[in-house]
Amino acid sequence: MSMSLGSAVMDRMAAKLQKYNFVKKVNWGRAVVAGIPAFWLGLFFFVPFLVVFKISLTEAAIAIPPYSELLDWDLEEAYISIKINLGNYLFLFEDDFYLDAYLSSVKIAVLSTFFTLLVAFPIAYAIAKSDGSTRVLLLALVILPFWTSFLLRVYAWMEFLKKNGIVNEFLLTIGIIDEPLIMLQTDFAVYIGIVYTYLPFMVLPLYSALEKMDGTLLEAAQDLGSKPTQSFFLVTLPLAMPGVIAGCVLVFIPAVGEFVIPALLGGADTLMIGRVLWDEFFLNRDWPMASAVAIVMLVVLVLPIMLIRNSQGKGEAV
């Protein structure tokens, strides 16, 4: 019994091996198609990442470029020295300023992602439920802002939010407020800026998830006794979840490292890691410190999200 079982297993393994040997033919067309973007990412994402990582292990110096050499060698005297400086990383954890900046960035990013979701969901829902030509028009309107410079649009918001800006003028005229509201250079303005800027990144994945949903599912839910709000949480939201996750990741990751919006719309006390990075680079000219800040942000914030997203993608692949 056990003999025959064993041999059966062996047979199967042999068959499998054989199969692999034959199947393992290189498909050049496929290799090229997959290879070009991989090469591109390697060259322009992974290599610069390594460069930044290298700089983060050096010391600031008054030189060009402004950091010490990691490797030092003299061939005549046959000596190579590697000097790794972990001080930048240690300092990151010693000084509360950086921790605060990270936490504050996460807080702002989480909240603005949530607000973006709240604003984007009805928009995406309306687009998904609209028909034919209206849908095309609405989608175009969502994408249209990308045709103008992001920087210009943030400046436009400054005009809106400033003390004698359009919003304040309007509110004063209709008499809701007696004196202008201070909106510019507050966290409020930062939230507005982030929600506004990243809205399309939330709307589009939500739309594509909602568009696939069969409308009779909602009728079925109603028929089985659930009110419209219940139906939303029991049917619409679960089915839109892939879109919700994709949208949140697309908004959260860039929002964490956002620099322009807090710099232009935020106040002096708006602490975000993107600004800290900028200051380290351009005000302190401490490239190694700035690099360490960037690496830690990537490892602590972005990497876990990417991994979670990746594993979910595999789970849903049915």
Binding site: D214, T216, L217, E219, A220, A221, Q222, D223, L224, G225, S226, K227, Q230, L234, V235, P238, L239, V318
Partner: protein
Amino acid sequence: MSFSEQIVPSSMSTEQLPLWKQEGAEPFLRIENVTKNFGDFKAVDNISLDIYKKELFCLLGGSGSGKSTLLRMLAGFETPTSGRILIDGVDMAGIQPWERPVNMMFQSYALFPHLSVADNVAFGLKREGVAKAEIKQRVEEMLGMVQLGHLGKRKPHQLSGGQRQRVALARALIKRPKLLLLDEPLGALDKKLREETQFELINIQEELGVTFVVVTHDQEEAMTLATRIGVMNQGIIVQTDEPHDVYEYPNSKFVADFIGSVNMFEGKVIQDEPDSVQIDSKEAGTTLFVNHGISCAPDQIVNVAIRPEKIRITKKEPEKGVNCIQGIIEEIAYMGSLSVFRVRLASGKEVRVTQPNFTRSMGDRYTWNDAVFLHWDEDSSVVLTS
């Protein structure tokens, strides 16, 4: 049999009568002058219909006949433009779909893709706030009834079409609705499965005693399932009758033609007795006798309808020369169980005749261009005045 049972035949016989034939029986579902307009289009045009408890009523019609719209109004997804719908005596106006004692089985099944089979079935009970233990027990019971007890943990996309259909049925039945609406319940199944499921559906309906309203475009489905059929065309119900009556006594050309196939001969009424008529038909080339009376004006143009299977085909002239016409076989289709003949008459009219294949041999069979006699009994045909 006891004596007491024998002496009350009259009351017994009324009890045997189906509800819709009883005088003054209370309908369970009453549709009163219901009209539904979509813009200028009248989807449902002033329909009145009574459906009784435990009936399996089929709304039969082609696409665009308004049958689905009527069903959706019963479920509450559409509001009638005018008219009333009463379920068990309660006016449904203003009652939302989630408040109605009605459940629906959707044509696409509309199973929730993110929920397991058991959770799909439990959905309705959870909304009612039924206790967990009871939900579990009732879901198990229901899945057992549709023979899916072992698949409760699967997701809908892991099921076959037939299994999904059963889940949809179980989900619609679990709340024990007074009225179950079924939109083309067997439409997505293949022929074999459809036939099996038809009988299963009837068994379940009888077991639970729920009133079913089924929408279908498939006349065969309607014939096997229904206690009564309502034939719909262009927003109105053309005829409401038991399947047998709809087939044998259609009330109009439309119904005769829509259900099964039929030959029609146009002609003029030449003799109109209370229980028989004679019709002179140029198309048939002879005078046709029909042994039921009709109400019509003298000399009115009417149609005599005769089903293909009721026509006999012979090479020799029959002795009784009533309702006998001559023609030439133009086409023969051998279908296994029966053969279909297309016979051309002298008038140019084409007549369809079907005959069961009694024997296996081909020896005495008819062939193309054979001159044949077609004849039928006086009570086989029916006169249609509209």
